[in-house]
Amino acid sequence: MTEKKFTLLTTSGVEGSVEINPEDPKTWYLAGTANRGNRLTISAQGPDHVMALSGIAPRKFHTDPVAHMAAEAAVSAYYGLDGLMLGEDVYDIEAEALGQKMVYGESMPTIDFREPFIAQKSDLDKLKAPDSWIDRGRVKYMFEIQKTLVELGAQSAYFCAPFSLAVGLRSYPKLIRDIRRDPEFAHAFMGCLVDEILPSYLKELMAYCGAGMATGADAWAAYPDIGPDIMEEWVLPYNARLTANCQKLGFMAMGAGTADYCEEDLNRYSKEILHKCFDIQSKNMFGTPFVFMAMGRWHEYPLEDVVEYLAEKYESKGIRATVQGAINARFMREASPQEIVDYVKRLIDLFGRKHDLALFIASTPADTPSANVHAAVAAARTYGQLPIAENLDEVPFELPQRETFEEYVNRMSNGKGLPV
């Protein structure tokens, strides 16, 4: 075995050393983080892609934490990502544990929105935090995954943020009706989630996995699923209330992905709404200078509007913001490697010098060509060397030629394949 030092760039430079074990892909991932130097990070999200690439059957992939993490680690190592290629679908676990009906098929398990757990308003009486969560639904599976993530350097656990959990338990149309027609009920429902349900779940999760904080995924609180008015009245206050409740329990928990701007129709693109979403994102993070780009069509939006926002809001006050620069899922699947490289280079050129840019491949589709992910990572490594070069056109770059995932696994495992 070869011992390698590693530095986890996405977790504030956690350092250690690891021996590469052919039977443990987690060690491939850790060893792969060695000697990467001082540069911008690139991470990715994409359970569908990990499952497809690893060839693990859906049921096993989404219920067996050992198989799941082996696949995540192997795929992350293959691409040379700076964080594990997250991950499990975070939107279903708590709801399923509370009794929400799910559908298990040939894909990720999904909530059966035909039969919401809170079908009638009187069902709110059923919404109670269990004495113990661990044996409910896939909670143990999720806790084990998060424990492993922490062992591999993650600082934050993750959970389903209040608004998205409310959608999971009530369904989107019903929740929207509640908000518009019966706000008293909707407030009681949201209050129960942030005062009782999520603090109880998170307390158990934090104790199990050992993370220092927890961040809540909140895809249902994206624009245009909801507009800024609902974000202000129904998302921010409850996220803040959850944070306060968890602080009393001795840990930090906060919604993180709220107000992601995801307009699909470029004819409806609005700079004004985009900037409102950025304002809400920062409010949601208690004023942290933070701009979050994730699932939207950022390769098509006018990024100059983001530059303008950052200049006015932060640069004018001498503040460096944290900017998550996203590579859109469909763009990752359908663009050429060179187009992806050009886009990553543009993100770095626009945001990499004046702000703390973290690159992020959003929800990588199942059948994304691996060459595209390799291209994105190579561009991040080449153009993202700190300090960022004044003229990126002068930085030499070559598209990487890489072995297939199967060849990689065979090489790393001495021909034994993934240990799943």
Partner: protein
């Protein structure tokens, strides 16, 4: 336009599905022709909601409520339309592919297509590939609409199209796909006839497919 039709139209724009069936009943009780109530109030209301959406004055919650109000009113009126009075532009059978339970987009698409004059038969969500093929054979739609909202389930759309070919049905029906992870390029890859970017675009594409 009479007051009751104005009220009904506005209730659909406002997304009030508790009021719209009552107003629809009231309009019919006043002796207004069902086809006039449908066109002047119900369809006009959902079209107005679509216009507000396209102008960024409505967000998704507004549209989903309008779609619900439309459905509630249409449910009162459609059974009373005289034969031929509600002649449709074409029949569309529509559903979300197997393993996928996300029906938010479908709800809006159905309302918009129905509002545009199509007969829409909703198969629901989590529909097995064979069911789509059987329903095309049984119902003989002009268009088969397939929705998917996950990058894994969208791959099943190709299975449906391949199944239609194997069953000798492919040239009898146009296939339109939609859903967040889909694109025009994907539609072309799998051999679909059209891609509906969103609900309004689906209406445009459906009109083109039956022209």
């Amino acid at each position: 336009m009479s007051n009751i039709l104005e009220e009904l139209k506005q209730a659909i724009v406002d997304g009030d599905d508790e009021v719209t069936p009552q107003l629809a009943e009231q309009a019919l009780a006043e002796g207004l022709a069902p086809v006039d109530v449908m066109q002047s109030a119900v369809v006009a209301g959902i079209e107005e909601a679509g216009r507000l959406w396209s102008e960024n004055k409505y967000f998704l919650p507004d549209v989903i409520l309008s779609a619900g109000a439309f459905k509630a009113a249409a449910g009162v009126i459609q059974p009373r339309l005289a034969d031929g009075a509600g002649a449709s532009k074409g029949r569309i059978v529509l559903g979300v592919v197997s393993g996928d339970m996300h029906d938010l987009g479908k709800t809006i698409v159905i309302a918009m297509l129905a509002g545009a004059g199509f007969e829409v038969i909703d198969l629901g969500v989590d529909i097995p590939t064979q069911t789509f093929i059987d329903k095309v054979r049984e119902l003989k739609p002009d268009i088969l609409g397939l929705g998917a909202y996950m990058t894994t389930t969208m791959l099943l759309m190709k299975d449906v199209i391949d199944g239609l070919k194997e069953a000798g049905l492919r040239d009898q029906v146009k296939v339109m796909i939609g859903g967040v992870p889909t694109t025009q390029k994907f539609a072309e890859e799998i051999g679909a006839d059209a891609w509906g970017k969103d609900a309004l675009d689906s209406v445009v594409k459906a009109n083109q497919l039956v022209a």
